[in-house]
Subunit: 356 residues, 2 copies
């Protein structure tokens, strides 16, 4: 038995890009999403604007959803889980469990793309001294996205408008103590974008970003980093924040200003933790279920990287986007399309084989 | 008249990835390269190892060349220039001028992918105080790649083995004075990779990297940056280098150590300038000839970025890799495949139209 179909697991930006690309080039694709809705993290976490240019996230992601939903070659199942995979490249049999009580369903496919993305680092882990679960005014970038999306940024503790807001970078990244030595790549850009949005929403606020290195690579440098400083007066301080403590009804942020070479203590109304990326539970689960190699952090290993950035160690199974590690949206979209071309090649190899 | 073919302009990693992807999904592709050989910058500039993992560049790039050359759907023309393009998406007519005296040739195609890449910033521009054209022991990252590739790193001035070597980051990047406000994205990673290769080649050398921010994003952090410091003892100094002067038969490097907050002067045997990316002459020329929008730096503008990272403002014309701006190899390969899926969609739209 065999199939002329590609299956994409995960309906976020990477999976949507992959599914669109498979159907765009004329191959049947099934997109399987465990949640009840498509769109992935930007939709689930209610992102405000996209990094770097700040276009509203929801309509942009909706366009990606429409491009898949409208394509007659693409089939979409939400609320559906992958339960098992057997077989080899060109002839996999997949078992799915969908909504309702009709029981598991099996189907054939030639190749699989894992697009199960990332989850945010939990800033409440024991090594973290920032009081995320103790102080309501300590929030994450994702919490702030949701507030910015609603157009209402307040201190969760008392509903007041915050005057002094700071970002703490590299929470859960570049940190051997917690086992995440890698850099999460996007947090510098996202913090800067959110800082600009804050300054636009609350023109009287003062906004600080405490960083180790500002990783504003490529055009993020000129598109966000320069304007954030020059037009929006975001204050970047090279420094390490060691702890956050309550002081009166505010928060005392303690650390070291590494440029000035001295300790610093600053009062803040709102502290935003720039939490890093970790493999999503779905990425860990699918890697294990499908039997593909993970790196020491649990992301799927692109064993042929950099020139083969989407292949796994199992033939016919590809991965894309943040299932492979920290990735921005642009990376993720291209990576999805890249995996699509490799998966479609498996379908074609099969039909060439059948014809001979 | 119309065509079921995609044309890719440029035979470096981006163009090779694009051409491979087009043919992998079953569509005819013509790859046009102005030079006499494929492989682009990594081959022309004789790269040693690929960033981040240091695999030898030439055999890796050769695999990409073979994947295209061996595909019956792919046709390759080297030594060939694009002279003009007329028509619209689905029905372009391209004029090529190839080797020999047979005169220009026209052919039809449905879509075009521009993969003309980048050129290195010229560190001899008048604003640059590093003496690249004055002192033979001031070289660029590309010059060093060629030396590492030959396995022989010496001071060009006297053929001696260098003992003290430094990298100066952000030469031609993040610099408003020269008009390049963007970050060139890869130079931190490449410098770190080269620094490790230097320490392996010359175990008695001392290697310094002077940087503004180390942009070791994603896995570059754990794959290069940590080992460079901990295993290879590369010395990273946050500082700005303002000038390079001769002193005896060595070079005096002057600047400010921004962490220590004091001026510094260090003697070096070899100074490596981490020169940034600019649009290649081919990128400027093709953008102009094909009539696609360029950004203020001359790179091709991906007007729908980040969620459409490869579309230009002209329908049916896509761009990929460093023709769009600073990109690492992994970005470039995925971006090439991404452009391929969009270009193939133009071919399919056409055949769907013809069938109806």
């Amino acid at each position: 038995m065999s199939s002329d179909r590609v299956v994409v697991i995960g309906g976020g930006p990477g999976g949507l890009a992959a599914a669109r690309a498979v159907s765009d080039v004329g191959t049947k694709v099934l997109l399987v999403e465990e949640r009840e809705q498509l769109g992935g993290t930007p939709i689930i976490e209610n992102y405000a604007g996209l990094t770097p240019r700040g276009e509203p996230a929801r309509p942009q992601i909706q366009k990606m959803i429409d491009a898949v939903s409208d394509n007659p070659l693409a089939d979409v199942r939400v609320g559906t889980k992958v339960k098992s995979l057997v077989g080899d490249e060109g002839a996999f049999t997949l078992t799915l469990e969908g909504p309702g009580s009709q029981g598991p369903e099996t189907l054939e496919c030639a190749a699989v793309i894992i697009a199960t993305g990332f989850g945010h680092f939990d800033p409440g882990r024991s090594t973290q001294m920032y009081g995320y679960y103790e102080f309501p005014d300590v929030i994450t970038q994702a919490d702030l996205e949701a507030m910015l999306s609603e157009g209402k940024v307040v201190r969760p503790s008392n509903g007041a408008v915050p005057e002094r807001i700071c970002f703490v970078q590299c929470v859960g990244s570049r940190d051997r103590q917690i086992g995440n030595e890698y850099c999460s790549k996007v947090c510098c850009g996202v913090a800067s974008k959110e800082a600009v949005e804050l300054r636009e929403t609350l023109p009287d606020s003062k906004v600080f970003i405490f960083y180790i290195d500002m990783r504003m690579y490529g055009y993020w440098e000129n598109e966000i980093y320069w304007p954030a400083q020059e037009l929006h007066h975001v204050q970047y301080v090279k420094g390490l924040i060691t702890e956050v403590l309550p002081k009166g009804d505010r928060l005392l942020v303690r650390g070291e200003d590494t440029t000035m070479g001295r300790p610093m203590e600053l009062l803040m109304d709102l502290v935003v933790l720039s939490v890093g990326m970790e493999p999503s539970p779905g990425t860990r689960e699918m890697a294990s279920l499908l039997g593909v190699k993970q790196n020491k952090y649990g992301f799927i290993d692109a064993i042929g990287s950099p020139l083969d950035p989407v292949g796994t160690d199992r033939k016919g199974i590809f991965a894309c986007g943040a299932a492979l590690g920290p990735a921005d949206l642009e990376d993720t979209v291209s990576s999805g399309a890249s995996a699509a071309t490799r998966a479609v090649a498996c379908v074609r190899a099969l039909s060439a084989g059948a014809a001979s």
